[in-house]
Amino acid sequence: MVDHTPRRATRRSFLAGTGAVAAGVTLLPKFGWAAEEKKLNFYNWDTYIGETTLDDFKKASGVEVTMDLFADNDELFAKLKEGNPGYDVIVPTNDYTERMIAANMLVPLDHAKIPNIKNIGKAFLNPAFDPGRKYSLPYMWGTVGIGYRKSRVDGVPDSWKWLYDSSKYAGKIALLGAPGTVLQVGCKYMGWPLNEKDPAKLEKVAELLIKQKPHIKVFAEDNGQDLLLSGEVDLTMEWNGDILQVMAEDPDISYVVPKEGGLLWEDTLAIPTGAPHPENAHAFINFLLGAETGAAIADFIQYATPNAAAKALMKPEYTGNPAIFPPDDVIERCETAIYQGPEYTQLVDRLWTRIGAA
């Protein structure tokens, strides 16, 4: 067995329902014009950093990092929406990065201060959500696919059909409770682009889901991996990293990105508008993108790194794991979600409300 035992708790799981986050942030820089105080406020996902990364940065730069945690992008966005409470570096997922760029919530990065950009893989240098990487740099990436229990499923369930359009595994299916993601992946199943915004087509996906609803056990609040592990369901739509954790605990569990393609996501490093320590923030981002640091983080959290120099330092157990790095032809069929404006968001929510009420 490959040893990729994640020593981390689930990134998006337990805290999700609480919305509770410790506040411990200095509100304003006391001497904004003088040299920056040796401090930095980092707002990150839970267990999404290397074991010693923050200490290493302090040793290297003298800057003390305070890390607060958020449970999902909505929480991050809501927290910064009414003004930055004092964070210097944040980790939004690509479509939220785009939303925040649109809302002037991020400051442009000074690439001259981040020489380690050279470590980043070519494929990540010019994404649609942030052309030329003006506002964000890639931190980790992954996919949304199907986690399943091998002994309870015929072969490899490599189609979204088993979740969206079939009664074969009735009552043993969980989908994510994320309205946008569920509808977007539904579009992939229908053979449309992930970011399809034609209301009529989205309506069709909603109807498909309403028809499928009696067979779906639950729209999981991001605990699909736990449902799979405890035998509650046999197939679940999930983030690859979450399934990877339970794969390490139970060899009967596996992960596949369906042949129709799935969602490709990228968590980014960005500096929110009003950050009190922008110099330190640039230095910190540069540090995180270092080859050694990147490798140490990836080794600890077991997500796919976009850092080519870091990946080169990693063992084949990590680089060769298809649940972390799906084959290239699978990646080609995956798409990244883009931010499509408030009307789309409202339509998605309305359809989701209808699916729930039907």
Binding site: A78, P179, E221, P342, G356
Partner: protein, 306 residues
């Protein structure tokens, strides 16, 4: 009643902080939400208060009214079940020996010492397919099968080929179980308060005059406990109506309550004005419930005077 006038300093010193607190941290934020419910979205983060009623018109769409209705059913069922279970508990505490009462009341409020999220996760561990309820049932199933084998009936598989676990989680029943579990203390405490004051000689008199136990309960105890029943019902009904964590974690695909919709407006849907309008609709309904209570109190007070 007018004693405070004689001692205005004491009045201001003790009265001002809570008033300021309520004003600053309750009324002001509430007013902001109210104002927001008349706003329109402008771009990603900007909202403009235009005095529009569009959010309320949207909220009155049959789709949302249906969810309001469903939430009322969930909250009503929760209240009813809490009352049915809570009444005997409160009665038992009242009739328990005095030295036990404090301990029993403590047991009732003990769950509050644990965070709601933890309690809900604990309930998941109890109800799920491989949870404690099903483990227990499976154990009985195995024992029963063993007994049948001893009787030489093992080959008939009278109890089915294998143990079929009950589907207790991820459905509407699970939501009501969860809501009752969380809100039961809010029913028991006011019931206890009103039953404790009950004059036991009235029950004895009813029994002496030939009423059956049930009759004495129905015509003497229940009417005297009515204020407690109403307080308890309101204390359970209102928070149950606004629950979102319980349906989120215990519910199935069919368990969406109005608070789930409201929560989404402030998070993934990013539509604060609409969320505010939905919140205020819910609040108006809550006010309605309180008004009913006030009306009842006034009526009974009027009867008392008559």
């Amino acid at each position: 009643m007018e004693s405070w006038r004689r001692n205005p300093l004491v009045f201001w010193v003790t009265g001002l902080p809570p008033t300021a607190w309520l004003l600053l941290f309750f009324l002001v934020p509430l007013a902001l939400v109210w104002v927001l419910s008349f706003a329109e979205l402008r771009g990603v983060v900007e909202m403009e208060v235009t005095g529009t009623f569009a959010n309320y018109v949207r909220a009155l769409d049959p789709l949302y009214l249906q969810i309001f209705g469903k939430s009322f059913v969930f909250a009503g069922l929760t209240t009813l079940v809490s009352l049915v279970f809570g009444f005997p508990v409160a009665l038992a505490i009242v009739f328990a020996p005095r030295r036990w009462r404090a301990v029993l009341l403590l047991l009732v409020i003990l769950p509050f010492w644990t965070n709601l999220l933890i309690r809900t996760y604990a309930l998941i561990a109890v109800l799920r397919t491989r949870g404690f309820v099903n483990f227990t049932l499976e154990w009985f199933w195995e024992k029963a099968n063993a007994v049948l084998s001893l009787l030489g009936l093992g080959s008939f598989q009278l109890l089915g080929e294998r143990f079929e676990p009950l589907e207790l989680l991820y459905n509407n029943t699970a939501v009501v179980i969860g809501l009752v579990y969380v809100h039961l203390p809010f029913m028991v405490l006011p019931l206890y308060a009103s039953l404790e004051k009950l004059d036991r000689s009235l029950i004895e008199a009813a029994l002496d005059l030939g009423a059956s136990q049930f009759r004495a309960f129905a015509t003497v105890v229940v009417p005297l406990a009515l204020p407690g029943i109403i307080s308890g019902a309101i204390l359970v009904f209102i928070p149950a109506l606004g629950s979102f964590l319980t349906p989120d974690l215990l519910g199935g695909t069919d368990s969406q309550m109005i608070a789930n919709v409201i929560e989404r407006q402030f998070k993934s849907a990013n539509d604060w004005p609409f969320g505010s309008a939905l919140s205020f609709l819910l609040m108006y309904l809550t006010f309605g419930a309180l008004a009913l209570r006030a009306l009842y109190t006034r009526r009974t007070a009027g009867q008392g005077r008559a």
